[in-house]
Amino acid sequence: MADWVEPAARQGRTSLMNDPKVRSIVLQVVALVLVIVLGWMFIDNARENLAAQKIATGFGFMENTAGFGISQTLVSYSETSTYGRAFLVGILNTLLVAVIGIFFATIIGFLVGIGRLSKNFVIRLICSCYVELLRNLPPLFQILFWYLAVLSAMPNPRQSISIFGEAFISNRGIVVPRPLFGDGTGLVLWTFGFAVLATVLLGAWGRQRREETGRPFPMLWIGLGLIVGLPLIAMIVTGFPITFEKPELKGFNFVGGMRVIPEFVALTVGLATYTAAFIAENVRAGITSVSHGQTEAANSLGLRSGYTMRLVVIPQAMRVIIPPLTSQYLNLTKNSSLAVAVGYPDLVAVFAGTTLNQTGQAIEIIAITMGVYLVISIITSVIMNTYNKRVALVER
């Protein structure tokens, strides 16, 4: 596009305003300036009006002490931390639900989507029921169902369900032993990192070989062996430096160990299973879009049906699946703001809820919150679009 040049003769004759390129640039600049000026006037006027009513403005509040507690914090936080810190805690909590939710939604969605096309009647029926049921119930209802009907119905900590005396499930969530890292942990972690890297590289090589020679490579087993085996050897060599702190029941709750709070579980499970129903439909649509000739061709080459699905159909279906999949990922992220209904401290609850209420700076806080969701959405879209381009290229 850049090396397209107007013929010199025509350029001379037409006036600048008739040149479509120049005209569109001028119009765009004018529009942009107009938006900026109007926006600035709006902000300036709002600031003056707020000042007239003596309502605090600006972003200085971010440095003030928050003074409230948060039940789940991925970074250190206490009541004496600032609102800025609470904001960070909120973002991380939102991202945690989004990432874990998307992970499970994708897995369930693909399984159910493929299941809907299964030759087995029972599987097909179960998968259809799953989609029809979960897609048609409001997500808030489903989250509340998990929270109030399932998780709150768990026994209290004293009667908790014990899993080999190591982990415990109660209406306070799931507690598991917390790893404590002693001397020599470094080596174990390094070998683990090395094993993961080796697996990735081997996988790439294996795929290339398969594409060139058609010989399959047993990646799953070799990878598993590497990732489990190598660190295990390192552990033995260093004399088991990683120990576990067991959760213990003390007073009201479990002390020690790591805890997954029921609010998180309800929200993540609710959103993942709900979104999975939509993803399943996208996957089904993607698969049916691949011409049946492809399957027949693969079959006639003697490929078993599992391989046909994995190596022939799905890669071609991905092109069709990814764009709607992206919007499902964005939906899940945005729906995570239903958190406050079950008391999960996400960005909206902590920042656009408590912080807004305590500082009264609605305009600033809602603007920042919308900005954060926008940035998360844009990043998700960019990642998915990049991936989409790669799949599209491979296909051609």
């Binding site: 003596k54 309502i55 209420n357 305009i363």
Partner: protein, 338 residues
């Protein structure tokens, strides 16, 4: 969602309106013909809708008192149910004219939130409720407990202060609405439920077995609950402020909704000034001279309002205690009408 809409309304109102070009609130209210009053989403005794959508409660009656003063008609008020965290934005944006929703008077709310508290309708303090079978007798035994509370309240901040000051561990689960909070507590997600003690008495009624729970003796904060208006309209501030003062003064003078008509014939100068047979105090507020007479006649004095909604004969069974008149050892005290 309401908060988002209020914020947009706020941004719109402040971003587009000419600076200082607001009409007087009293004129606005008179022009539209009713008062828009922000209340809770359902707190028995304070503001609670029945199955037919009729609102009852102390906070609701106070809104009616303002309507009586302005319109001489208690039906000229509309209620906006608000959660704790949405209430201030609704007031700042002008969605409501008065907020009467068990709201604690604090310095930050009174100043940087751009609001004015007009008085105290109920002197309260924060307490804890716990299941009897946990066998806890004092809030100081609560270390390690999970605590259910509502977001956007002073409760949320006080509980953090209390546990920190006493070096106790805790976990706070904060919900958006009162119903969600009490359900989570009832289902056992939390060991303790905390809010204003009046709120404990009210929310307790929603529990499956109210008698299985006790309120611990400690009161960990001061919660003076009162009506709120926006900064920037002194006349409206005065009207809402004096509506309550009129009710307290009426109780002190022994004027009730039943005898107020006879009181028109009274020769006691204090009574005469309140019912409007002497002086022109309504004028100073921009109201009719019968403003206080209408409040007492249509809504009652403070004591009547209290007894009817939260007193010992109601399900909440709250003794007058600190809310008794100052002449009876309580804190309710109003400046004189003169």
């Amino acid at each position: 969602m309401k908060r988002l809409l209020s914020t947009f309304a706020l941004a719109g109102a402040f971003g587009l309106a000419a600076v200082g070009a607001q009409a007087a609130k009293l004129d606005q209210v008179k022009a539209k013909g009713f008062i828009q009053c922000g209340v809770s989403q359902g707190l028995p005794g304070f503001s609670n809708p029945d199955d037919k959508g009729n609102w009852t409660g102390l906070d609701v009656d106070f809104c009616r008192a303002v309507a009586a003063a302005v319109f001489g008609d208690t039906t000229k008020v509309k209620f906006t149910p608000l959660s704790a965290k949405d209430r201030f934005t609704a007031l700042q944006s002008g969605d409501i004219d008065v907020l009467s929703r068990n709201t604690t008077w604090t310095i930050s709310r009174d100043t940087s939130l751009g609001l004015n508290f007009t008085g105290v309708t109920y002197y309260d303090g924060q307490g804890f409720m716990i299941r009897k079978d946990k066998k806890v007798n004092s809030a100081l035994e609560l270390s390690g407990a999970s605590v259910c509370t509502q977001t956007g309240t002073t409760t949320e901040q006080n509980v953090a202060d209390f546990f920190r000051a006493n070096n106790m561990q805790y976990e706070v689960i904060a919900f958006a609405t009162a119903d969600e909070t009490i359900k989570a507590y009832d289902s056992g997600r939390c060991d303790v439920y905390t809010t204003d003690r009046s709120g404990l008495a009210a929310e307790r009624l929603k529990l499956t077995n109210p008698d299985d729970h006790i309120v611990l003796p400690e009161i960990i904060s001061k919660e003076p609950l009162g009506p709120v208006v926006s900064h920037g309209d002194d006349q409206w501030f005065d009207i809402v402020k004096w509506a309550l003062f009129a009710q307290v003064n009426a109780e002190e003078l022994g004027i009730t909704s039943k005898n107020v008509d006879e009181m028109l014939k009274s020769t006691n100068p204090e009574i005469k000034r309140l019912v409007g047979t002497e002086g022109k105090f309504g004028e100073g507020l921009g109201l009719g001279n019968d403003w206080a007479f209408q409040i007492v006649k249509l809504v009652g004095n403070y004591g009547e309002m209290y007894d009817r909604n939260v007193g010992p004969d109601t399900p909440l069974k709250l003794a007058r205690g600190t809310n008794a008149l100052w002449t009876k050892g309580g804190l309710q005290y109003a400046p004189p009408i003169r």
